[in-house]
């Protein structure tokens, strides 16, 4: 009797599970795994705004081949471990066909093994570390994609910009040694700056969460240098710039896309944000018609200027949906194949093609800040 009962229960559970996994035939589920709270929350929140706008546009235009896109959104709290857990949940329980995010390289890398094991493509809008789509021994991560350029490109462009446009000969690097992002950028900047005839006078480091940089700044103040390169995120970069300017260091400060957050202005204050240059994916000063339309639509929806993460999120969702539309079947393998075949996809952050290492080939902009406001942008093609 007892055994019969157990059998019945098992059968019931099995039926329910099968029922669940079937899902709705008229919808395509896409996972959103982003940093909605925690240390780099503004990256995640901005990306998701862009993603949601893109999905809304696609659904309003009739969806993909008549099927509506259903986004399933989770918050990974800016923690790589949480990102992995959520990726598992999205794939096994929510049965998504692809996952968008996370925004940072560290969290995105944590998610990739789950994607490879389950054969579900994952794509990030802003994971720029070099070893995101390629492992350290040169093998392509089969199911990982991105729509942003990588850090070697960012470091190279900034090194050349410093040497050519700012005529800098000597640079100081203050890097975030607790992130792959900071270390990768620092290395590429250094290599290329030296190659361009410059020299690195000092290399200092900090870890995420530090607030007092006075000791480092006092130390470099006595040195002779033309520019400071800060490969790191806005939380610390804002404080470094503020404390540097308070100590009377007026040299130009260079950075990367980690500077792109309104929090940078809040932390540093407008009067400290002079002579700041950073590489970025997109500039709101761009006059390209596609960009202008995006900015208008974005303002209408969210009532604010879009930043680069908004634009990348938007491109990311469009990029993945474009591949889903071209895929033969609605499964991970076919979508992955379609993503690999992407050619000349026109996005807000530039036209991109996916290369053999799953990296996009696209242009970059160098943005200049005066009094905390974007005043110049220079577009550089690969």
């Amino acid at each position: 009797m007892k055994r019969l009962l157990t059998l019945c229960v098992c059968f019931l559970i099995a039926v329910t599970l099968i029922g669940c996994s079937k899902g709705n035939q008229n919808e395509i589920r896409i996972g959103i795994n982003y940093e909605l709270s925690g240390g780099v929350a503004t990256y995640g929140q901005s990306s998701v705004e862009g993603i949601e706008m893109a999905i809304e546009e696609i659904n309003n235009a009739g969806g993909i081949n008549g099927k509506k896109i259903v986004p399933i959104k989770y918050d990974n709290k800016s923690e790589p471990a949480e990102a992995t857990t959520l990726a598992n949940k999205l794939i096994t329980q929510d049965k998504v066909v692809a996952i968008l995010g996370p925004a940072t390289s560290g969290s995105f890398k944590a998610e990739i093994p789950v994607a490879n094991a389950n054969k579900i493509p994952v794509a990030s809008g802003s994971a720029t570390a070099d070893d995101v789509t390629v492992t350290s021994d040169g093998k392509v991560q089969e199911y990982a994609f991105r729509v942003c350029f990588n850090d070697s490109f960012q470091g190279t462009v900034m090194a050349n910009f410093a040497a050519d446009n700012l005529s800098a000969k000597k640079a100081v690097i203050i890097m975030d040694s607790s992130s792959d992002y900071g270390k990768g950028l620092a290395k590429n900047f250094k290599d290329n700056f030296v190659k361009a005839g410059g020299s690195i006078v000092a290399e200092e480091a900090y870890v995420a969460g530090d607030t007092d940089f006075n000791a480092i700044l006092t130390k470099i103040k006595g040195l002779d240098f033309d520019v400071i390169y800060i490969p790191g995120y806005y939380n610390e970069a804002g404080l470094i710039i503020k404390q540097a300017r308070a100590q009377g260091i007026t040299a130009p400060v260079l950075g990367a896309d980690g500077f792109d957050s309104p929090v940078l202005l809040e932390l540093a204050g407008a009067e400290a944000l002079n002579d700041i240059y950073f590489t970025n994916h997109y500039s709101s000063l761009d006059k390209d018609p596609a960009v202008v339309k995006f900015i208008e639509d974005f303002k209408a929806k969210y009532n604010k200027e879009p930043d680069a993460f908004n634009a990348l999120g938007y491109d990311l969702a469009k990029f993945v949906c474009d591949a889903i539309a071209r895929a033969e079947k609605l499964d991970g393998e076919s979508i992955k194949k379609a993503l690999e075949e992407t050619e000349n996809f026109v996005g807000v952050t530039g036209t991109l093609s996916v290369d053999e290492y799953h990296n996009p080939v696209k242009s970059i902009v160098v943005i200049g800040l005066e009094n905390g406001v974007q005043t110049s942008s220079v577009k550089i093609s690969p």
Partner: protein
């Protein structure tokens, strides 16, 4: 030389913060032999209270400071009454674990209410934005404010502990709780008062850090809390002047390591000092060797 003096200025302002937090650690340890790990989080709450006062109620620095200190005082007493008082006669390890629990509760409770993002204090106005140049040494008005407020608070604390009745009661309880009780001292109230004083100082440190660095988050109390603990141990835990000296010492060491050595090692050096002290002179700089009473 100028660079050295500038580093001293940096070290003293950082050390003031550590000293303010370390005082709370040391007073609580002196009176109930508890390392109150939740103390760093009171500092964080002080920073948030100051943030709300200045951002939403547009109060000035001094009123915000007083409000933050008052609310932190209250919180310190409430935490003592709810979490530690019922464990007065429990083993010390039980109280210590409770302290860690309270600490995590405050950190993640705050994170739930205010989110984990970094927040920035509103821009300062008037005199506080100035900086003064002595030769090539730059001293900002904020650094002067931090050091001045720290010294005023420390002098006030010394006055309370040395010159008032409640201060006398605190010293009596820390010397021998049972004897103090027999002499008619209300031990529970005295312990609450100690928590109140320590929490007020931590709250003050929190808002000063908010003004100085302009960046606060719910986990900001962990590392400064631990470093202040090192400072307290360095000066001799339980001894008030020791905590002040320890705070300034740790702040200066940290700055010097970053300034003349490798900036990556600054935290490691601070904790290496803790290990060294515990090996060489566990009673700290000002502590006397005492035999454990059996």
């Amino acid at each position: 030389m100028e660079q050295f003096l500038q580093q001293i200025v940096n070290g003293v302002s950082l050390g003031s913060i550590y000293a303010l937090i370390a005082l709370g650690y040391t007073m609580v340890y002196g009176i109930i032999k508890l390392i109150n790990f939740a103390h760093g989080d009171i500092y964080m709450l002080g920073a948030y209270i100051g943030y709300f006062c200045m951002t939403y109620f547009h109060l000035g620095v001094i009123p915000s400071l007083l409000i933050a200190m008052a609310i932190c005082t209250l919180l310190g007493v409430i935490i003592e009454r709810i979490a530690y008082k019922p464990l007065r006669n429990a083993t010390r390890i039980a109280v210590l674990i409770t302290a860690i629990g309270v600490s995590l509760f405050l950190e993640y409770g705050t994170m739930f209410f205010v989110k984990a993002n970094v927040r920035s204090y509103p821009p300062l106005k008037g005199i506080l934005t100035h900086s003064f140049k002595l030769g090539s040494i730059v001293v900002t008005a904020q650094q002067i404010l931090i050091v001045c407020i720290t010294i005023i608070l420390m002098a006030f604390l010394q006055f309370i502990v040395k010159r008032t009745r409640i201060g006398k009661a605190m010293r009596a309880v820390s010397l021998d709780r049972d004897a103090a009780e027999l002499m008619g001292i209300n031990v529970d109230n005295t312990i609450s008062f100690t928590f109140a004083l320590g929490s007020a100082l931590a709250g003050a440190a929190g808002i000063l850090v908010g003004i100085y660095y302009n960046s606060i988050n719910p986990l900001m109390g962990i590392l400064p809390g631990l470093k202040a603990f090192v400072a307290a141990v360095f000066g001799g835990i339980g001894i008030i002047p020791g905590a002040m000296i320890g705070g300034y010492f740790i702040g200066t060491v940290e700055v010097m390591v970053a300034g003349y050595g490798n900036s990556m090692f600054k935290d490691a050096v601070v904790f290496a000092i803790l290990i060294l002290i515990l090996i060489v002179k566990p009673s700290g700089l000002l502590g006397k060797e005492t035999k454990e009473k059996v």
